[in-house]
């Protein structure tokens, strides 16, 4: 059954705004001038060749990489002006699914899920356990609570990574190549899960991907990065029919 996309929020209902973002590594300018705005409940897919700065872009959004120029306004706050404590408060409202899942190897699945909640003193132990059960149920991994990450398959690790980020109920989700290295069936399941998260938690998301099937399922809007700038912007259908041959080549 084809997953149904969610209607996105109104324009000017922006939760994340990037203005004139620039980032260089030595003499290599990866991001030249990027300006993006994301509305509430919107899924934005970012396409681009390897090395075009897609991952750098989302790492700038959570303060893992400091931009050289530009502003990043997340939920009304410019994160480039924040101190570490203020940044950590904002980070709790942003979920980040890493390409590898980034599960903590030395912890069980349950401990992995409890880890982001360790500073939440207001939540009781019972409530935390309930949240773990709920998060695992959301990604269909109820039976893996006591397993170690090394016992899980690639797809399960991705799901678990997603469950761990969702446990804090983030308002914004950042997905770094969520379907890379997975078979087409598992990729589709992950893509549908992304859509479920958008519906259930009303999250706004940036999805970095090369997987056009994932883009087709999840995207409300897409941008294509080329040489550090936005080369094209539009819906999946619009970009598929783009006059630019290079943009069209992603869809072939």
């Amino acid at each position: 059954m084809e997953a149904k996309k969610v209607d996105v929020g109104k324009k000017n209902d922006s939760v994340l705004e990037i203005q004139h973002l620039q980032k260089s590594f030595g003499s290599n300018q990866v991001l030249k001038d990027i300006s993006i705005s994301i509305n509430k409940s919107e899924n934005l897919v970012v396409l681009g060749k390897s090395g075009s700065g897609k991952s750098v872009l989302i790492k700038c959004l959570v303060g893992l990489i400091d931009p050289d120029e530009g502003e990043i306004i997340v939920l009304g706050q410019n994160i480039t002006d924040l101190n570490t404590e203020e940044l950590n408060t904002i980070r709790k409202k942003i979920g980040f699914l890493f390409q590898s899942g980034a599960l903590y190897d030395s912890m069980t699945v349950k401990e992995n899920l409890l880890f982001p909640l360790r500073d939440s003193k207001k939540i009781s132990k019972e409530e935390k356990n309930k949240l773990v059960d709920e998060a695992l149920k959301n990604v269909g991994l109820e039976d893996t609570k006591e397993k170690m990450p090394s016992e899980l398959s690639g797809g399960m690790r991705k799901r678990l990574g997603l469950a761990r980020t969702l446990i804090l109920k983030p308002e914004i989700m950042l997905y770094d190549e969520p379907t890379t290295g997975l078979d087409p069936i598992t990729s589709k399941e992950i893509s549908e899960l992304i859509l479920d998260v958008q519906k259930k938690y009303n999250t706004s998301s940036i999805i970095i991907t090369h997987d056009m099937a994932c883009a087709k399922i999840t995207a409300n809007r897409m941008i294509v990065l080329k040489d550090g700038v936005i080369a094209a912007e539009g819906t999946y259908e619009e970009l598929e029919k783009s006059k630019d041959k290079w943009v069209r080549s992603f869809f072939e």
Partner: protein, 281 residues
Amino acid sequence: MEKLLSKLSAKSVKAVSVIAKIPQKIEYHYNIFQEFFIDVSTFSIFIGRFLKEMIKPPYELNELMRQSYLVGYKSLPLVGITGFIMGLVLTVQSRPTLAEFGAESWLPAMISVSIVREIGPVITAVICAGKVGSGIGAELASMKVTEQIDAMEVSGINPFKYIIVTRVLATTIMLPVLTVFNDVISMLGSFVGVNIKGDVSMHLYFSQALSEMDFTDVFPSLVKTIFFGLVIGLIACYKGYYSNKGTEGVGQAANSSVVLASLMIFIIDVIAVQITSLFIN
């Protein structure tokens, strides 16, 4: 004449090529020096951050306990076996020399003082540099490669406090404990060594061994093990936390943690001996 000219021109070409290579060599050595000073300054900043994060609450006590268990309890068998063998071998090797002077009765005291003052702390520290240092270096480097450290950071948790401070404190706290354990087991090994060619009761052995030992033997050696532990933890964490060459960096971090920590243990030992000798004859 022609031959001479061709020889001269060949030599001048060689000279020119040697001169042309000089700037490249200077640049090469300049880069090595630059990298060295960058490394030293980064390590100094790392130590400063460690001290700052160590003092600042909240404290990661559960993780500190877990790391202390991993560093201490898990190293007990290796430290114990090595200590026993060291005590035994040292006794068997020293007996003939002392026997020549008719001073065999000095064996327990001499061995125990050597173990407590020098051999115990250094052997324990070198074992820990190998076992614990390489483990921490490789673990942190692989956490970096698999983005686990980034994942901690984006979930609003301070990875430096959780990963670095706890591990460095664990090695600093556990090394003196492991050294005391190693000293006791070494003395047991020495007791066995004495009894291979003799008949000395345990009570007599230990009363002789401890009769020549006082506070000035035990205290300075325990203080230096604190610094040994600190340096093992700091170097291993630094090498792992700042590794940046993917999976290749994991091996490099483990290797350089052991090499550098072992070297620093001997340097600290020399400094500790000099400082101790200023106060104790």
